[in-house]
Amino acid sequence: MTQTLRTGRAIPDRLQSPAMRALRSWESILVAVAIAIFVTNSFTSPYFLNAWNLSDATFNFTEKAMIALAMALLIISGEIDLSVASIIALASTAMGVAMQAGAGVPMLVLIGIGTGVLCGAFNGILVAGMGLPSIVVTIGTMSLFRGIAYIVLGDRAFTGYPPGFAYFGQGYVWWVFSFELVLFTVLAVIYWALLHRTSFGRAVYAIGNNATAAQFSGIRVARVKFILFLLTGLMSGIAAVCLTSRLGSTRPSIAAGFELEVVTMVVLGGVSILGGSGSILGVVLAALIMGMVTFGFGLLNVPGIVMSIFLGVLLISVIALPRLFGRK
């Protein structure tokens, strides 16, 4: 009996050259799209090409993009956190309560970030510790966290944050560079190093590709996943500080729908929703693109809900198009 070896796919006799590979990568497509949108925007609205307007535009995405950095790692590891927007709501509410009790600015920031970390830990214990599916757990905590904000606030709102608190969402470090933008840039570099330059980052990819194999090769899967949920909570806490400071008020409906935009950003950035691949550069580019599109639509007076249709279409088509045209 003869055995024929059938491998289903052809093995190339040479690898693509690095330059060719870089050119065909998802990131370079994103760069091209970003440039295209930038150029279109500059032609359609005379107000687009202005340093201050562009700086204002960054507020559209910085808070969401901070969360997207951590969410990217989480999705690469094969999990997801849909509760991020609700964590913002809860952290913001906690800051509001502290503010009414007379807490100072450093205390407010600490409480906001601390609440975020605690929420992340809660998700982490349930998913990593108890092995529950992250989709259901975070759908549950999404409703739980925001629910607590509603219990505390009802239909009221916290306003009257101390003047010094406004810096995080409204302050500028230098010229047109806002505190949020600089913070995001720093965080992006940190996350890039974490994912692409440390063994922790390699572990995240390994878990996303095959959690069982990762476990057997000595990676503490549960611990890594727990840390990733902590990070996502932490980033949501930081985003809550920035957003609350920018808006100057807290309502229980704050940041509603952010989870969709964050996930869209991550997926648009080329992170596989099934886990195992993706890069921080891609996510940052996706954040830029989404920010510029939102800003451009805003300049053209397109209503927010039309923008959200566009986001939905974008989310689906970004995943659908490569599958339609046979790219992986």
């Binding site: 989709i135 999404m142 739980l144 629910g147 229980p252 969709l260």
Partner: protein
């Protein structure tokens, strides 16, 4: 002993206990008239939970149900405004809902996109479409015909028509899931997709059918919702998908697919329905609702997992030296 291990019995017991607890302080809560009201209030949740359950059985999830409901409800209200007769409206909402479900299903089936991504996306697309259809305007009670508003409230043998629709759906889908090849294929596809392929089932097609069913039920519920509350606008039933998923998880439908029953989904929905109706009675602010259904999801998914956790497999065994 076995009956205590049965989830459905336990859940039914919990519901009775809950009703009993409320009744101990507020006897009026258990008046038959009020219990009928509670069931009637829960009917939309029951209808959607049945559809969601079938989708979850096949290893998918449909987060777009509430948006689908809102879109079909608005379409019904607009058609009524144009003078379309009621039977045609009913047919149209079921078809429209089914078509929206099919859009989800086809994306999952033909392109292999994870259902959570598809339905997160279509959720906002559907809601946005309502805005495009109306420009954000409301359709109010005085713009709806009397017959349009009356149908779900019409009482027949002591129960409103809306409750009858829910009962009919329970019976229909109970039969479908337990007595037909299609029903069994939902379980097969979710329980073990690879094995399902070898038995000749098309996994994607089955998932797509599940989405169509979920969508059609959402469409029908959309009419019932808009007619009963006599108002239609962009944000009706916003966030309702969470309650629907909660009902399924509480009802013991395994989120990994392949396990669950219509009875479970109905009991899960009733559990939430009783809580939602009891809150105002025991004077707790309705703002607690969201946190309660959230905790219910978390607790239920924890219980589900500890109950069905597979025992570890032994992969290394010490062998006695020979």
């Amino acid at each position: 002993m076995n009956i205590l291990k049965n989830r459905d019995v336990l859940l039914a017991f919990a519901i009775v206990l809950l009703i009993g607890g409320v009744a101990a302080r507020f006897p009026a809560f258990v008046r038959p008239g009020n219990l009928v009201n509670v069931f009637n209030d829960t009917s939309p949740l029951i209808l959607l939970a049945i559809g969601q359950m079938i989708v979850i059985l096949t290893k998918c999830i449909d987060l777009s149900v509430a948006a689908n409901l809102a879109l079909c409800g608005m379409a019904a209200a607009l058609m009524n405004g144009m003078g379309v007769p009621l039977p045609l409206i009913l047919l149209a909402v079921v078809l429209l809902g089914g078509a929206l479900g099919a859009a989800n299903g086809l994306l999952v089936w033909k392109l292999g996109i994870p259902s959570i991504v598809v339905t997160l996306g279509t959720m906002t697309i559907f809601r946005g479409t309502i805005f495009l259809m109306t420009g954000g305007a409301w359709v109010n009670a005085h713009q709806m015909s009397t017959a349009f508003k009356a149908l779900p409230r019409m009482v027949f043998l002591g129960l409103p028509v809306m409750s009858w629709v829910a009962l009919a759906a329970i019976a229909l889908f109970f039969m479908l899931l337990t007595r037909t090849p299609l029903g069994r294929s939902f379980y097969a596809v979710g329980g073990n997709p690879h094995a399902a392929v070898y038995t000749g089932l098309d996994v994607g097609r089955t998932q797509c059918i599940a989405f169509v069913i979920s969508g059609a039920l959402a469409g029908l519920t959309g009419y019932l919702w808009v007619a009963r509350y006599a108002v239609a606008y962009v944000d009706i039933a916003a966030g309702f998908e969470l309650q629907v998923v909660a009902a399924c998880v509480i009802g013991g439908i395994a989120i990994v697919g392949g396990a669950g029953s219509v009875i479970g989904a109905v009991l899960g929905a009733l559990f939430l329905g009783v809580i939602n109706n009891a809150l105002p009675v025991i004077r707790i602010s309705p703002f607690w609702q969201m946190a309660i259904s959230g905790s219910a999801i978390v607790i239920a998914v924890t219980l589900n997992a500890t109950q069905n956790r597979p025992k570890g497999r032994i992969i290394l065994k010490e062998v006695e030296p020979t």
